[in-house]
């Protein structure tokens, strides 16, 4: 004879059923859903990106890399859909970077040079890579603590790479504003290689135009501009593509442009894994460049650059990734036949 279940037994059974169903559902979640569920870490990254690109702020921060620390000031404003930004070194070089809409100006007092790059007006200046399913596959994103930093409640989010092709991050994100008060860039072994910490940060409703004027005196400076219209992409005679890419990277953008001080068109390809990005510039090798040593490597902070020559073209990869990653991507570039007339390029 079967005994009827008591109410408490039914409750236990129901709970177990929910648990089993929940586990089954969990197994069927896509990586993006899993990331959303485990949640909050990835959402905090999205909120932080949103805050950094849409808020008005004026801050002073220390930048540490390679045993050196310098103070910089950043002013960021979004007004009537136009992004203005000014980044200036307060300590050493006196360099300044000013963005006003599609115009990017870089003041280099140490080279007595000003670079002015006019981006295409329709290009989104906040078109940064977005987290996606693949991002969760190549980074382990966790909230490791919820702590007080500088008397502010912050979420400490770690973004750990699962392979050697990318860097990791530790971010102290302010609970109320989602602004990152402190950022550490870590190598593949988790060692801190670059750090930014805000010393002061003001979130303003209004920032005047005068805040975006450079302090650099440019008398006698050489001005390099790219005012000539970039060639139409379809006019390119060759299409350059990467034969192989590091896991998780995909092409995100492609454009043809001229760089300040140069009349030659440059193909600009952008690869991203959702967090890190690598630009590859392809240009015909000029005669005067023939004497330059290639391949050639350089670093800008923890970012890497690598140049080589392939089929008479100079290939330069730049990105916030380890040196081996830019080297890998640059060496994979190959020219392909132009697409048939009428076909569309990616």
């Amino acid at each position: 004879m079967r005994r009827a279940m008591s109410s408490s037994e039914r409750l236990v059974a129901l709970t177990l059923a929910w648990a089993v169903a929940g586990a089954a559902l969990a197994d069927e979640r896509t990586p993006a859903q899993k990331m959303a569920h485990e949640s909050a870490p990835a959402q905090w990254l999205e909120r932080m990106n949103q805050a950094l690109t849409t808020r008005n702020y004026d801050g002073t921060f220390s930048h540490w890399h390679g045993g050196r620390v310098e103070m910089l000031r950043i002013i960021h404003r979004v007004q009537d859909g136009t992004v203005s930004e000014r980044l200036a070194s307060l300590d050493g070089s006196g360099r300044e970077f000013i963005r006003s809409g599609a115009s990017l100006t870089c003041y280099l007092p140490d080279q007595r040079t000003v670079l002015v790059e006019q981006r295409p007006p329709d290009e989104s200046l906040v078109g940064f890579p977005a987290l996606n399913d693949q991002t969760a596959s190549f980074y382990d994103i966790r909230e490791v603590s919820h702590t007080r930093l500088n008397r502010r409640n912050t979420h400490v989010i770690t973004v750990s790479p699962k392979d050697e092709y990318r860097y990791g991050y530790r971010l102290w994100i302010d609970d109320s504003t989602a602004m990152p008060l402190k950022t550490q860039l870590c190598d593949t072994r988790g060692h801190v290689i670059e750090q930014i910490v805000f010393a002061s940060l003001t979130l303003s409703a209004h920032i005047p135009d005068s805040a975006f004027k450079p302090e650099v005196s440019t008398a006698g400076f050489k001005w390099l501009r790219n005012e000539s219209a970039p060639p139409a992409l379809a006019a390119a005679t060759q299409a350059w593509n990467a034969m192989r890419l590091p896991p998780g990277f995909r092409i995100a953008a492609r454009s043809a442009q001229t760089l300040p001080g140069s009349a030659d068109p440059v193909d600009h390809l952008v690869f991203t894994d959702g967090l890190a990005s690598v630009s590859v510039f392809v240009e015909p090798q000029r005669r005067e460049q023939a004497d330059q040593p290639v391949p050639e490597s350089a670093t800008v902070g923890s970012s890497s650059a690598f140049s080589t020559v392939i089929d008479g073209h100079k290939i330069t990869a730049v990105g916030e990734v380890p040196p081996d990653t830019v080297r890998f991507i640059a060496n994979q570039l190959k020219a392909q036949e132009p697409p048939p007339v009428g076909s569309r390029r990616p």
């Binding site: 932080m48 990106n49 950094l52 002073t60 220390s62 540490w64 890399h65 390679g66 045993g67 103070m71 910089l72 980044l87 300590d91 070089s93 970077f97 990017l104 140490d110 080279q111 040079t113 670079l115 790059e117 290009e123 200046l125 940064f128 490791v144 702590t147 500088n150 008397r151 400490v156 770690t158 109320s176 990152p180 950022t183 190598d187 072994r189 801190v192 290689i193 805000f198 010393a199 002061s200 940060l201 979130l203 303003s204 390099l224 442009q257 760089l259 001080g261 952008v270 967090l275 890190a276 990005s277 630009s279 350089a298 670093t299 800008v300 902070g301 923890s302 970012s303 730049v318 040196p323």
Partner: protein, 209 residues
């Protein structure tokens, strides 16, 4: 040094200076060696005076910096040779250096206008202008559970990036994520680009909790 500046230093140390003035003074401290030295001396005196009625320092910060100072080989050796235990001046000196560390690193986070969510209004003190390699305070003070690695300080590099590299960096920055873009441009602004041959060795020494 003029009297007004001295008075400002004093007020800043006592946490009685207006935030706007603190910001200006902190900037000046970060680049004025004479002022920094003055602050260091002032901190020693201030800490000694305050030790009689309780040093007004961020306790975890002071403790951590004290620990770092006492862990210095020179100090440890001197301590071992004397075998007299911790002398009276060591906590004061350690606290004074801690104050110095905190001094050049004053943080304010405030909103000039009401924002959605909680209003921001705080006068904050934090170790910000210190290099992670020089002081392990930031991560530890924040209570981060993970260990903090002190990378080896490389030789100072002063290779100026070529205009060509500058072009690439600026063009690439448009497509970077906000955080990585800030890192990239900050590094570029500080002018520390160098050739790969000068890349610092990456063998970190020591984990400090």
């Amino acid at each position: 040094m003029n009297e007004e500046l001295d008075s400002q230093l004093s007020a800043m140390f006592d946490d009685e200076l207006a935030p706007e003035e603190c910001e200006l003074l902190a900037r000046r401290l970060s680049r004025d060696e004479q002022l920094k030295a003055r602050w260091g001396r002032y901190a020693v005196v201030g800490a000694a005076i305050r030790s009689e009625r309780g040093v007004r320092l961020n306790a975890p910060l002071a403790g951590l910096v004290s620990a770092v100072i006492l862990a210095e080989p020179a100090l440890a050796a001197a301590q071992g040779a004397r075998r007299t235990g911790v002398r009276w001046w060591q906590p004061v000196a350690a606290a004074a250096v801690a104050a110095g560390v905190a001094a050049v690193s004053v943080l304010w986070l405030r909103a000039q206008a009401p924002l959605a969510g909680a209003p921001l209004s705080a006068h904050l003190t934090a170790p910000t202008a210190t290099a992670p390699g020089a002081a392990v305070v930031p991560a530890a003070a924040a209570g981060a559970p993970d260990s903090y690695v002190v990378p080896r300080a490389p030789a100072v590099r002063a290779v100026v990036p070529s205009t060509e590299l500058a072009n690439y960096v600026v063009a690439h920055s448009v497509f970077s994520s906000p955080v990585t873009r800030r890192n990239l441009l900050s590094a570029f602004m500080t002018g520390e680009a160098g050739s790969a041959a000068e890349e610092p060795r990456d063998d970190a020494q020591g984990n400090v909790q």
